[in-house]
């Protein structure tokens, strides 16, 4: 990874929500760089804030603190027309292809909507663009006037993808785009996403809990635990050599289809807690086998090997 300007860079990003039990530190002090035309996989278990992180980056949520840079330009505070420009460059694909499409709008209307809202196209251009987009994501022309409830999950997700790429964005945040789909359909959609990345030069942030999917599609992977980044590394490196105890446990927990490989699980104590009013220090410590007194101090993400960052004070002793 050469030192050029990343397409998306976030510095010390925080997003807190107030909830019944106190303040939920959904995203807490995260730094990340995503290079052009690469895919950053973000993995973690439910409630770890991975989806909130993505939605904060594309400015669907307002960050509590920190900075978001798009192409080196600070977009944390932009409003009005500038925000509209930013949103055209950063798009989102949702997890649930059922609730993310307006049930009263046909395929054609859904795909046309972003083009229409940009007010840059004539009526005729709109029709042509819609044709082109439907072709690009592989929706048959006969489905043009179909409504979401008339289509299967895979097709619906394709419509969602067409809507996201309609305005030629640079960056797309994919929020578990395939986890609601069956395996055979999932593979079709993953192939489509990768083809579009090549053809349109897209940069992805791919949020998921499915490690085999993230391994397949990502160039770099960040692992989150309760709002914090615990480890980030290039994909190959991460799967070869996990340094954080949580990453180890997470990777060893994936059920493997190789029935001859003996299972070696890193056992975890207890259950995932919550990020509401957390104590300082490593949030994974209560479940960690290696936790000591030092883990109650705030941790920092440090570069242990080249491009491989870990947030664990005992990383050298453990490995």
């Amino acid at each position: 990874m050469e030192e050029k300007n990343a397409l998306v860079e976030i510095q010390g990003l925080k997003k807190y929500f107030s909830s019944a039990g106190g303040i939920n530190h959904a995203v807490d002090d995260i730094n990340m760089k995503i290079q052009r035309r690469t895919t950053m996989g973000v993995v973690g278990e439910s409630g770890c804030g991975k989806s909130t992180l993505g939605r904060t980056i594309i400015r669907l949520y307002d960050p509590t603190e920190g900075k978001i840079l798009l192409d080196g330009e600070d977009i944390t505070e932009v409003r009005g027309r500038k925000l509209r420009k930013v949103r055209e460059r950063m798009q989102i694909i949702f997890q649930d292809p059922y609730s993310s499409l307006n049930p009263r709008m046909s395929v054609e209307e859904t795909i046309r909507e972003p083009l229409k809202e940009s007010r840059r196209f004539s009526r005729k251009e709109l029709e042509e663009k819609v044709d082109e987009l439907m072709d690009q994501v592989g929706i048959e022309d006969r489905l043009r006037l179909s409504y979401p409830h008339e289509m299967d999950g895979g097709r619906r997700q394709r419509v969602g993808i067409a809507r996201a790429i309609a305005l030629n964005p640079d960056f797309i945040m994919c929020d578990e785009p395939v986890s609601a789909l069956d395996v055979s359909i999932q593979a079709q959609v993953l192939n489509l996403l990768m083809r579009l990345q090549d053809r349109l030069g897209l940069t992805y942030m791919f949020v998921t809990h499915d490690l085999s999917v993230v391994r397949h599609i990502s160039d770099n992977i960040s692992v989150m635990y309760l709002g914090q980044l615990v480890e980030t590394a290039p994909t190959r490196e991460l799967f070869r050599n996990q340094l954080h105890p949580y990453t180890k446990a997470l990777l060893s927990a994936i059920p493997s289809i190789d029935i001859d490989r003996p299972m070696q699980r890193v056992q975890l104590k207890g259950e995932i807690t919550s990020a509401i009013n957390p104590k300082p220090g490593c949030r994974f410590a209560p479940r960690c086998l290696f936790a000591t007194e030092a883990c109650n101090q705030p941790q920092t993400l440090t570069e242990v090997e080249k491009d491989h960052f870990v947030s664990c004070c005992r990383v050298n002793e453990i490995n």
Binding site: I185, Q186, L190, S256
Partner: protein, 326 residues
């Protein structure tokens, strides 16, 4: 497949739904058998009929719209479908118990978890209340929940813990057969690993038979002895875990494996199965898979049932194009 000591035997089960004047062919002639202490995995995509089979075994299909057209379900030699409602009640929960996919909706939110399990115990045993409560605490501890949490309510438990409660409830009456419908799909991977491990331990300890319904081949690889692959309401391949994972034969099974992103393969393109599962109100003629099958020939679309072919002892495959290979 033809053994007499089989604890559970399903023969030619056909289940149909009627919806809006159309007939949905959910299960089309499924036969399977299960020995004591064994685990059978039912694998297939959404709408393949996996859950319908399990519900038919427990005889809890909503009728109407569902209707068992034909077939037998023998538990210990007794045909469940022919029993009276009273006799069925004895079997449900006592001999057969089911774990549902979503632990969030399977528990009553206004009753403590201990009470809920105790109630199930009392319903199926001749225990006194004290005995039943002792049994509940024992069950809770067996699934890794401290007995003190007896008095707590479902909302005080996390998803994984709730699923443990559901499992404890299902196991409380020593069922001989456990039907687990996607028991870990709603859970996170690290929690899933814990729950699967627990299920495996309990199974060996209690010698319970289990049918595990899932779409996740990884889960099957970790827990099952035998596997049945289901497509459009029919078993298309049946065999031991080793048969299926090391020598998959049916083109659909092969397609499923090819669709998975491999953990140890860096190739860019995945190889999905083209097309979509068939419309269950209007199944293709001949082999239901032939419109999506790369090996299909004209013979595959001819009218008539495709027979199960035994490729090797205990390994069956429903494909006329595969028989010769082995």
């Amino acid at each position: 497949m033809e053994q007499n000591e089989n604890f559970l035997q399903v023969r030619d089960l056909v289940v149909e739904y009627t919806s809006g004047g159309q007939v949905v062919h959910a299960v089309n002639g499924v036969s399977l058998s299960l020995d004591r202490g064994q685990t059978l995995g039912l694998v297939g995509e959404t709408g393949a009929g996996k859950t319908t089979i399990a519900k038919a075994i427990l005889d809890i299909l909503p009728n109407p719209p569902a209707k068992v057209r034909s077939g037998e379900i023998l538990v210990d030699g007794q045909d469940i479908l022919k029993l009276s409602e009273h006799e069925k009640l004895k079997i449900r929960g006592n001999k057969i118990a089911m774990i549902f996919q979503d632990p969030m909706t399977a528990l009553n939110p206004v009753m403590s978890v201990g009470e809920q399990i105790t109630e199930a115990v009392l319903l199926h045993n001749d225990f006194t209340r004290t005995q039943a409560e002792a049994r509940t605490v024992e069950m809770l501890e067996m699934v890794g929940i401290p007995g003190q949490r007896y008095v707590e309510f479902p909302h005080q438990f996390s998803g994984g813990m709730k699923q443990r409660v559901v499992i404890a409830m299902a196991l409380a009456c020593d069922p001989e057969l456990l039907l687990a419908d996607e028991p870990t799909t709603a859970l996170d991977v690290t929690i899933q690993a814990q729950v699967l491990e627990m299920i495996n331990d309990l199974k060996t300890k209690l010698n319970t038979s289990m049918i595990l319904i899932t779409h996740d081949l990884g889960v099957v690889a970790e827990t099952c002895d035998n596997v049945a692959v289901i497509y459009a309401g029919k078993i298309v391949e049946f065999g031991t875990k080793r048969d299926l994972f090391k020598a998959p034969a049916h083109p659909y099974t092969l397609g499923l494996f090819d669709s998975l992103p491999k953990m140890d393969d860096d190739s860019k393109e995945l190889h999905p199965i083209p097309g979509l599962p068939p419309d269950p109100t209007n199944l293709p003629r001949g082999c239901s898979f032939h419109p999506r099958c790369p090996r299909a020939t004209e013979a595959c679309s001819r009218e008539g049932e495709i027979p199960m072919i035994e490729l090797s002892p205990g390994h069956f495959c429903r494909c006329i194009r595969t028989g010769g290979n082995n």
